[in-house]
């Protein structure tokens, strides 16, 4: 097992270097000049040149790339031309917000998606199955941006049940940072009012973000459950008088869950890099907005930093899913 994990980690590093090379090349061949953008529209050429020199943008591309790799080995991801901050500081500031949002969102998707998928399979072609099909098709078809705005208008503006946007109320101070996840930090500090505030703020963006994942989980889990429920071991279990709940929720689900788990891993990694629209609608101060603003300003080093971070997260999420696979399925354990 240790050898397997070691191999996967080595592969992960190779993948990240490949990712860096591709991102570096793409961001540098795009037209536009970050120094010129940072200097402003009225800046004379010598001012633009000074900024280019200050950020090392006047060096040949291979030299820039080697310097960047050297920086990574020293734990540095360069400096943002737009914000003037080290990229590591910016990422530490914005990533926890995205991580918290995506994690809560995925938890909602799992907690709703698995039971709904299971029930749909059990009640195949029943009205309940059709209803969940509407949910799952909508989850894929409805644009997240639109859904967010509609939820915002209905639940925040018209009914006033939930806050409109942001991560905390405007006058609330964030809890003392331990994990930088407000829900956890507020609990650790025993600040229930802040926890309540943070929870109320995360509901709308998390529900909006979870819909595509929820749709996929329902559909995959339903299909796998239908197949599992037709297997001999289920007939055997029923014949032995094992209760319906145990038959469905333990025997069938355990086997049907593996493909769902793989999909959850992929979705989780994808969501970490795909929060921009939700962050924009709900003013969620996450990495999606940071990445977009950096891309608009053609600020290379933050773009590279974000890509590296999202890529690493995506790969780690998949590694964890593979490990969970091994833990759940004895056959794959043997192979590993």
């Amino acid at each position: 097992m240790a050898l397997y994990i070691g191999k996967r980690m080595a592969f992960l590093i190779v993948m990240l270097v490949g990712l860096l090379i591709v991102t570096f090349l793409i961001s540098h061949v795009a037209p536009g000049d970050p120094a010129s953008l940072a200097a402003g529209p009225d800046a004379p050429p010598e001012m633009v040149e000074q900024i280019r020199h200050e950020y090392g943008l006047d060096k040949p591309l291979p030299v820039q790339f080697v310097l960047y790799l050297e920086g990574i080995l020293h734990g540095q991801l360069g400096q943002s031309v737009r914000t003037g901050h080290p990229v590591t500081e910016d990422l530490a500031e914005f990533f926890p917000a995205t991580f918290e949002l995506v994690t809560v969102s995925m938890l909602i998707a799992i907690l709703l998606g698995i039971p709904l998928g299971m029930l749909s399979a059990v009640k195949q072609n029943h009205w309940f199955d059709h209803a969940t099909r509407i949910v799952s098709v909508s989850g894929v078809a409805v644009p997240m941006f639109w859904l967010g705005l509609m939820l915002q208008l209905a639940l925040a503006l018209d009914l006033g049940w939930l806050p409109l946007s942001g991560r905390l109320g405007i006058m609330s101070a964030p809890p003392d940072p331990v994990t930088h996840l407000y829900l956890i930090d507020s609990l650790l500090a025993g600040q229930w009012d802040v926890f309540r505030d943070a929870l109320s703020h995360i509901i709308l963006p998390a529900v909006t973000l979870c819909f595509p994942a929820l749709a996929s989980i329902i559909r995959v889990n339903r299909a796998e459950m239908i197949e599992a429920l037709g297997q001999d071991y289920i007939v055997n279990a029923r014949a032995q008088g094992i209760g319906p709940f145990r038959t469905v929720a333990v025997y069938a689900l355990k086997n049907a869950f593996l493909p769902t788990l793989a999909m959850i891993g992929l979705r989780y990694g994808w969501m970490l890099g795909g929060t921009i629209l939700v962050e924009s609608v709900f003013d969620w101060p996450g990495i999606g907005l940071y990445a977009t603003q950096s891309a608009i300003a053609q600020d290379f080093q933050p773009i590279m930093g974000v890509t590296l971070l999202i890529g690493a997260n995506f790969m780690i999420a998949n590694l964890l899913v593979d490990l969970a696979y091994i833990w759940l399925d004895p056959r794959t354990r043997e192979a590993a």
Partner: protein, 533 residues
């Protein structure tokens, strides 16, 4: 057989979610935020402030907060914008606008109590010039660090390299920093740049209270601000809350989560203006919209083609794009610019004249295609492109709408060979001095997005240089009148319109003091007051 177990029918998750919503339910906010210190005003804006250092950056949101925490020698106020004494209580120019002497207020002090003196002024100007970013370009060609003289603690003198009449008009954007605080936070000789991105060393009416990058920026008012306050009911603080989407801004205003917002769409303003408790600030701005031609390369190098396009444009349709909240340009200079004159021959739609001019080109029968490049996502620019497309069809000219990201668009404008035939350009002058607009048509502006015209008119160039080096306004004014006529005659762009600057505010916000020299959504926070009903 019923496969649904009884335990699964209750949908406990739905109940849990409903409980979570109930647990966190919050009623809508009714008004500004009330704190023990007083009322705090909430401004909802779309643009972040990644770097507050006045020597490194300025854009509308950054400058709005800079002006709140820093002071400058002079300040723009009012409509029309006038330069008012601020840290400098008086000044005089001599030597034909080559030497400028400023006498400083005796009581001006930084937030930590240090005096705002001539040394601080010299330090701040030198720092900006040395860093070479932000507003540095405004004066770097005429002012060197060794040209700044401390005459005494309350007198500072600037010796310019050459006469420069617009000098004073740029000074409101050169803020004064506390040298002691900046020096104390220097790191690796960076002149305090890293520290000042999220901290301030100023003397302005507000100080930084909270700085949550990407979320909000909180300012606390200084009751004992050295300059005093225009109103007794000034807010105890201001929170600049980031709201990226206009739909969110609108909802926040209606809910009372925000007291004032900028940047709503033209349709949004129509919706909220009739709502109770909401007032609209609607003022003629100084931001011009034009369709800039490449006058040096390609078909638009022919002035007759440029004239034909200018006469084919439906100008009334431009105003409709903004639901009427705009005025047509009657000169290359906005009306708020000193020395503005209405140029009587500025083109308006006249298809007969358009065809007449087209006949003088080698495209008399049309049959050519021209690119119209605009910023992707700017709906107004796209709509104007569609108007142009329809109008030029009558001349047999095909218009290709090319949306581009801002960096890609400015990259094209950087070289004459790649500058598009037509490019949509919004331009806001940084000062009310006419040089701020006139110089956009000089060779020194080539390669900038507003200089993608590559206009080469030696006579015009000569007048622009002469006017900026002339000290007496009585002599400058006639030159600028000629410059305006000359630019219109050259037709480097379709002179479009000036969209009004608009904000929506709750009616308890008073003291809104518009000044056309402010950028996009910029507001003078110092002037605002909260008057609860």
């Amino acid at each position: 057989m019923n496969f649904i177990p009884a335990r699964m029918k209750a949908l406990p998750i739905a109940v849990t979610l409903a409980a979570a919503v109930a647990f966190t339910m919050s009623g809508p906010a009714q008004a500004f935020e009330k704190t023990p210190q007083g009322n705090v005003l909430v401004f909802g804006g779309r643009q972040p402030v990644p770097n507050l250092d006045p020597s490194q950056k300025y854009d509308w949101s950054t400058r709005m907060l800079q002006q709140a925490v820093y002071d400058a020698l002079v300040k723009y106020e009012g409509d029309p914008a006038e330069i008012k004494p601020w840290v400098a209580k008086s000044w005089e120019e001599s030597d034909g606008a080559k030497t400028w002497t400023f006498h400083l207020a005796d009581n001006a002090k930084f937030h930590n109590g240090d005096p705002v003196d001539a040394e601080a002024v010299k330090f701040s100007f030198t720092r900006t010039l040395k860093i070479g970013k932000g507003p540095s370009w405004m004066l770097s060609s005429v002012l060197a660090p060794d040209g700044i003289e401390v005459v005494d603690p309350h007198t500072v003198r600037f010796h310019l390299k050459e006469p420069y009449a617009p000098f004073l008009s740029f000074l409101p954007w050169w803020y004064i920093l506390n040298p002691k605080e900046v020096t104390a936070h220097e790191k690796d000789g960076d002149m305090g740049q890293a520290w000042l991105t999220e901290h301030a060393a100023g003397s302005g009416p507000f100080k930084i209270a909270r700085w949550q990058q990407g979320t909000l920026y909180g300012l606390a008012a200084l009751d004992d601000y050295w300059k005093g306050w225009p109103h007794q009911t000034h807010p105890a603080g201001v929170i600049y809350k980031l709201m990226r989407e206009t739909a969110t801004q609108r909802a926040a205003l209606i809910r009372g989560d925000a007291d004032i917002v900028e940047g709503l769409s033209p349709d949004d303003y129509e919706v909220v203006k009739s709502m109770p408790g909401i007032a609209i600030e609607n003022h003629p701005g100084m931001t011009t919209f034009g369709i800039m031609f490449n006058t040096a390369k390609g078909p638009t190098a022919d002035i007759n083609l440029r004239k034909a396009i200018a006469y084919a444009m439906d100008y009334d349709a431009l105003l409709k794009v903004y639901n009427g909240a705009a005025t047509l340009e009657d000169s290359p200079f906005p009306a708020a610019i000193k020395g503005h004159v209405a140029v009587k021959d500025i083109p308006r739609q006249d298809m007969a004249k358009a065809k007449e001019y087209l006949a003088k080109t080698k495209y008399a029968d049309g049959g050519l295609t021209l690119d119209y490049v605009y910023v992707q996502g700017l709906e107004e620019e796209r709509k104007i492109g569609l108007i142009l497309l329809g109008d030029l069809k009558e001349l047999g000219i095909t218009v290709q709408l090319k949306p581009m990201t801002w960096p890609n668009m400015t990259a094209l404008a950087e070289k004459v060979d790649t500058a598009p035939a037509m490019i949509a350009v919004f331009t806001t002058p940084v000062a009310t001095d006419p040089d701020a607009v006139a110089f956009q048509y000089a060779k020194g502006s080539w390669g900038k997005y507003y200089g993608s015209h590559y206009l080469d008119d030696p006579e015009l160039e000569k007048m622009i240089i002469e006017a900026r080096q002339t000290a007496e306004w009585d002599k400058r004014a006639p030159i600028y009148a000629k410059i305006q006529e000359r630019i219109v005659a050259d037709q480097p762009e379709v002179f479009g319109m000036l969209a009004n600057r608009r904000w929506a505010r709750r009616d308890w916000v008073h003291g809104f003091n518009f000044s056309p020299v402010h950028f996009t959504g910029e507001v003078d926070l110092y002037q605002l007051e909260i008057v609860p009903k």
